[in-house]
């Protein structure tokens, strides 16, 4: 296994979509990314978990197997702060969400990604955010051929509220080349494949 460098990432981004080695990250707002990782931004959609109305989450209860939406009663859209030079403070403020201490929220990434057949991915918290005790993913591994906006489980592990802004880099995507055999057929697998919004969990028996 080896980590893809910037030049290799750019090479794969330019490949035709029907090439199994092609990589998609869209929209890629900053092409001048690190040598070994791509910055990933906070997207516009958030799924807020229920806090007081649920006594206990039971993922394998028959009625919950198809989806746990009831644990996430609210889907919220925060607009991307549009407008070069024309955005008002009010407009900018609308694209933010405040995360209270010890609280968590599901969020989508701004970027939609599609991994190549021979590459896995790992999503990591950007170190500056980590120093505010923000953790963005507890399930950071992404399988080859996955496509969709990534769902981030953002948690504020600190003692004070933290304001998050839509469109700002919050995570890094590290791409790792697989050794040996890889899937040679472009199939879309997994319950969350192709998702744009952060989706509530589904469990299978």
């Amino acid at each position: 296994m080896s980590v893809l460098s910037r030049s290799k990432i750019i090479e794969r981004l330019k490949k035709a979509i029907d090439d199994p080695q092609s990589l998609v990250i869209t929209p890629l707002l900053d092409e001048d990314f690190d040598y070994d990782a791509v910055d990933i931004r906070l997207g516009c959609y958030f799924r807020l978990p229920a806090i007081s109305s649920i006594t206990c989450i039971e993922p394998f209860r028959e009625s919950h197997l198809k989806g746990g939406e009831e644990y996430y009663p609210e889907l919220v859209h925060k607009p991307y702060p549009y407008g070069l030079g024309e955005e008002t403070v009010d407009k900018k403020e609308k694209g933010t969400i405040v995360l209270q201490p010890q609280h968590a929220v599901l969020a989508s990434t701004l970027e939609y990604i599609k991994l190549p057949a021979d590459v896995s991915g790992e999503i990591l918290t950007k170190s500056s955010w980590a120093r505010y005790f923000i953790s963005i993913a507890s399930a950071p591994w992404i399988h080859p051929l996955y496509r969709g906006c990534l769902t981030l489980e953002i948690t504020n592990l600190g003692n004070v509220p933290v304001k998050l802004t839509v469109g700002e880099p919050i995570a890094q995507l590290v791409l790792i080349k697989l050794e040996g055999e890889s899937e040679n057929q472009d199939i879309i697998k997994g319950s969350y494949a192709g998702a744009i919004l952060p989706e509530a969990p589904t469990f299978k028996r």
């Binding site: 035709a16 979509i17 869209t26 929209p27 707002l29 991307y80 549009y82 939609y112 744009i196 919004l197």
Partner: protein
């Protein structure tokens, strides 16, 4: 007089309560203020209105007006009540349209398009969902007139801004991008308001109608009271002006969106069983007439071959509609009872006059789109294959690579490719999902995904534009 004064006080307390309720209602926004920016603007306006009314009413209670003013205050209160009930309805609809049910990316693109067309004005198109199975533009004229009346009497009462437009879509279409292309037709009504066509058409039609009555001897033939003649003038002008507004909105939407609008209209039309293909109704031109106009502009704007290739059956139907002449159509309404014997003659004349108006409307749409209007078919032809291929691979088509060259398709291209894909190209995608093609559930999931990818591609385009990346 003392009785009237008591009446003023009780009315004033009642209005205060209403203001309080309205304010509370807006502040209880269930979506935690995650509306579109434009909706926030509308709600702010309503809050300001209710604040100004509260101050006004309190003043009336604390400093009772002079006797001679009491009557006029009562009249004002009546108008305020009317205003509050309007505001309540608007606020309720704005709040009910929570963030889950607004096609965000499309609504933002609508505002972007309207902004481009109406420069230097900055239009605010508020998109709200309603429980009716229909798309419509809220008629704000009466509301605007009322706010003008109140602002002359109440200090700090805000006049409803000219640039606010409220477009409604059916709640059941929340999350749909393709069928919500119908919103562009509603935006067309908003653009129509900014032209002087309606006033011109009204004067013209009344003038011509008078001459028609004289030339045909109808004035001598029909003995009817003056009020009935007025009703007839109203009948003719209302119908023809409504059709003109509708056909303007249609031509506008077809020119801006191409086949995507026509196909979106066909999607919603299937759900409305009462539509009559060849008869003009009280509110709309006949469907086949609208299709004839769609077809003419689709040809003019270069979509013919594309439609023929992708949807030959739709194309054939449109070609058939193109051949219709105005005398193939009828009007399904009935003229006022005194004029039944001339109804056929009158309806024929109305249709003929309407057809003359269509020529002017076409010219005005072109003027509104401006000389710099770039036909969307050009971008479509450049990127259609790539967009379709990205969709087949389950990827949002916002950044495409063609031989190493980066392209960002225009949202209209995304919508058209998306529609053709939805109607004819889903099989490769379903195969990729390893889906049983007979499973309706799976197909619905796939369609939902497709709609969300298209919405995301439109949103990405706007982000890239604003970031100066296009």
């Amino acid at each position: 007089m003392t009785e009237l004064s008591a009446q003023v006080r009780s009315e004033a307390f009642c209005l205060l309560r209403l203001c309080g309720d309205l304010t509370e209602f807006i502040r209880s926004g269930r979506t935690k203020k995650t509306y579109l920016y434009e909706t926030e603007g509308l709600l702010d306006h309503i809050l300001q209105s209710s604040g100004a009314i509260q101050t006004f009413v309190r003043k009336v209670i604390e400093e009772p007006p002079e006797d001679e003013l009491i009557k006029s205050k009562l009249r004002d209160f009546g108008e305020i009540r009317k205003g509050l009930s309007w505001l309540y309805i608007l606020a309720k609809e704005a709040i009910d349209s929570d963030s889950l049910s607004i096609p965000f990316s499309l609504a933002i693109f609508l505002n972007h398009t309207a902004g481009d067309l109406l420069k230097p004005k900055k239009p605010s198109l508020v998109v709200l969902s309603g429980s009716n199975l229909m798309y419509y533009k809220y008629n704000l004229k009466a509301m605007r007139d009322l706010t003008r009346y109140l602002s002359a009497r109440i200090e700090h009462y805000p006049v409803l801004a000219e640039d606010i437009g409220i477009l409604m879509f059916p709640y059941c279409a929340a999350g749909e991008v393709l069928v919500n292309c119908n919103l562009f037709h509603e935006m067309g009504h908003y653009i129509y308001e900014s032209t002087s066509l309606e006033e011109g058409f009204r004067n013209e039609i009344l003038d011509k109608l008078g001459r028609f009555f004289i030339q045909t001897g109808i004035v001598d033939r029909i003995k009817a009271p003056l009020l009935e003649w007025k009703a007839l003038l109203n009948y003719v002008s209302t119908l023809v002006l409504r059709w003109a507004d509708e056909i303007f909105a249609d031509i506008f939407a077809v020119r801006v969106l191409g086949p995507a609008f026509h196909l979106a209209y066909r999607e919603i039309e299937q759900l409305i069983p009462t539509t009559v293909a060849r008869a003009f109704s009280e509110t709309h031109p006949a469907d086949d007439y609208r299709f004839k106009v769609h077809a003419e502009w689709l040809v003019e704007d270069g979509w013919t071959q594309i439609l023929q290739d992708h949807l030959p059956e739709f194309f054939k139907e449109l070609e058939k509609c193109r051949d219709y002449k105005i005398d193939h159509f009828s009007i399904s309404c009935r003229a006022p009872s005194h004029f039944e014997e001339i109804q056929e003659e009158l309806h024929k004349w109305m249709l003929g006059e309407f057809e003359n108006m269509v020529k002017k409307i076409e010219g005005e749409v072109s003027t509104k789109l401006g000389n710099g209007f770039k036909k969307p078919v050009e971008d479509y032809n450049r990127t259609k294959k790539l967009v379709t291929s990205y969709l087949e691979h389950g990827v949002v088509p916002s950044t495409l690579y063609d031989d190493g060259t980066k392209l960002h398709p225009y949202p209209v291209t995304v919508l058209n490719c998306g529609f053709f894909f939805y109607l004819k190209g889903m099989i490769p995608l379903l195969d990729r999902f390893k889906t049983n093609l007979n499973s309706i559930d799976k197909r619905i999931t796939c369609e939902k995904r497709l709609n969300s990818w298209l919405g995301k591609a439109i949103e990405d385009w706007q982000i890239l534009l604003k970031k100066g990346k296009l």
